[in-house]
């Protein structure tokens, strides 16, 4: 589904990704661990195509197509979707309008919002005065409407209380089609800083990104246990 080869990226002349290689097959969800500032969000923003993130070297392929130079909206149309860690507040633009843009299958936005206890926010300006949890919910609901084949989630659990985590976990599983009775077709790339996410979604692989490089990969639960026990420094020396 997604293949990244030797990706070097900088922002305003500063290198943020230094030769990243990553492959996510169809149906798999991979988790990206790493310290603040290690380049996790930069990787997602680069895959989505944000212009500040200049690709100096390397290639990003999605569904077998080289998308390295494609504009953002074309990547979105091809089936890449992203829930932002800190989405912007857009004055004057109603949340419902953005939901309508995302709604490719013409489902009922009201029913979806109702199900996730979000109805009161549909007529509000996007993210203006939203709490952290409300923003995360808004992001996930937009992705549910967009129904992308590659789901990228940037720290979906941060700033969310426990009660809402379960609700959001439900949304994430729906997004990633984590049901036993179906063959998975959706892929996921999820950033987690605190690892709570592992309690809510079934991940197939994990990586540790440090200083713009992938240092470790393996079973996500085991990786996270290792990080909890030894910190990220261990990952630098471990060449797994």
């Amino acid at each position: 589904m997604l293949e990244i080869n030797d990706l070097w990226v900088d922002i305003n002349g500063k290198e943020v990704l230094k030769g990243v290689n990553l492959t996510i097959p169809a149906g798999e969800t991979h988790i990206l661990f790493g310290k603040n500032g290690s380049g996790k969000s930069s990787l997602l923003m680069t895959i989505m195509g944000f212009r500040r993130y200049k690709v100096r070297q390397g290639r990003i392929s999605f569904k077998g197509v080289d998308i390295t130079k494609l504009p953002i909206h074309e990547r979105a149309k091809m089936g890449i979707g992203m829930a932002f860690q800190r989405p912007p507040s857009i004055r004057g633009v109603k949340t419902r309008e953005v939901f309508n843009v995302c709604n490719i299958h013409s489902v009922s936005c009201d029913e979806l919002a109702d199900k996730f206890n979000f109805s009161g926010l549909l007529e509000r300006e996007l993210n203006v005065g939203f709490s952290g949890g409300e923003m995360k919910k808004s992001e996930l609901l937009q992705l549910l409407l967009q129904d992308p084949d590659l789901v990228m989630l940037d720290e979906p659990e941060s700033g969310v209380d426990l009660e809402n985590l379960q609700v959001l976990g439900k949304a994430m599983n729906k997004l990633l089609e984590k049901y036993l009775w179906r063959t998975r077709a959706k892929s996921g790339l999820v950033i987690s800083h605190l690892g709570f996410i592992l309690n809510y979604i079934e991940a197939d692989a994990g990586y540790v990104l440090l200083d713009g490089r992938i240092h470790c990969h393996g079973n996500p639960r085991e990786l996270f246990k290792g990080i909890q026990r030894h910190g990220y420094q261990e990952c630098v020396s471990c060449q797994r």
Partner: protein, 405 residues
Amino acid sequence: MSEVRKTRAEQAKEKKAAFGSDVDLLKYQLLSNHQSDPLELDPLTNEDRVKIIQSGIDLDGQDKAGTFFQTDHRIVHCSAKQPGLEVLPTAQALAEYPWLEELYWQAVPVDADKYTAQAELHFQNGYFIRALEGQRVTTPIQACLYMKHDNTAQNVHNIVIAEEGSELNIITGCATAPSLQSGIHIGISEFYVKRGAKLSFTMIHDWAEEVMVRPRSGIIVEEDGLFLSNYVSLRPVRSLQMYPTTRLIGSGAVARFHSILLAPPGCELDTGARVVLEASHTRAEIVSRTITTGGVIKARGHLVGLKPNVKAHLECHGLILADEGIIHAIPELEGHKSGVEMSHEAAVGKIAEEEIEYLMARGLTEEEATAAIVRGFLNVQIEGLPPELQAKVDEAIEESEKSML
């Protein structure tokens, strides 16, 4: 009294305005004002009709409580359909109501500048709209001031009175004929909102590229009165300068100003609103949304708190869509007592890249994302404005979007 006024006007004939570029009034022809009765015939062409509709006016006027229509210096139509509502040419109102002399030029000084002087010395009518005491005229009244003759001056004087406990909702469309290239419109407007009355005034301007516009408005709001102003100018105009002053003279009086302005290349807009809170427990709000696609905008606002326990807020937001454009926001707060609560918020800049890219990540093209953000920026919902008038404002915005982006 009128002699004193004339003398003051004569003395101000050469007086430049405090703001805006100076206009040589001698360049424009003054049409004769010897016409007292409305014309029988409708002299509008189909092209005129299109322009008038674009400025928010319904030509059949069926759903309106009253209609006033003036082309250049001539009254074309004037009617009031609801009891308790009066719509008259100003000259007729002055002749019929001797008491009107007392109010005439009270909200705007006759010698403010050369434009007020010209309006007095070369008076070409205008409208008088009045709701009698306790009459709630909720259906809008429409007024249109149309300029058809090229290179002329239109000097009108309007008076609007909402008597005690009454309500008036007015939409005015000011426009020029497609054939007109240059001209000057001078519009004196005096608004008197009496105790407990409500007056909403929505004005949509649609001028031509070489037209100069110098409205001069004054508003006096008494105890518990409410004045709402909604101003939209999204079409090219050479130069527009106006800075209406509102006096809130009675406890509980409220004034709200909302304006939406677009300056294409070659256009100079110097506009704003000033509210003087002269009584306790008065409130004011001034909100402007301005966009330049190459023109120059000065967005002014001035709140003057003279008594304690007043509350007022000023908001100037500007969006620069072309590097050649300039937006200069000038918010002023002037508190004279410790108990005043006044604030302002001003922001000028381009659309944030992250907002555009965020919407692109949801599938919109860059142009679609920009349009959605601009539309949102201009989306000013005015509390208390009848839905029909809000719809007119929304229509004007929608129509201008195509040319803006």
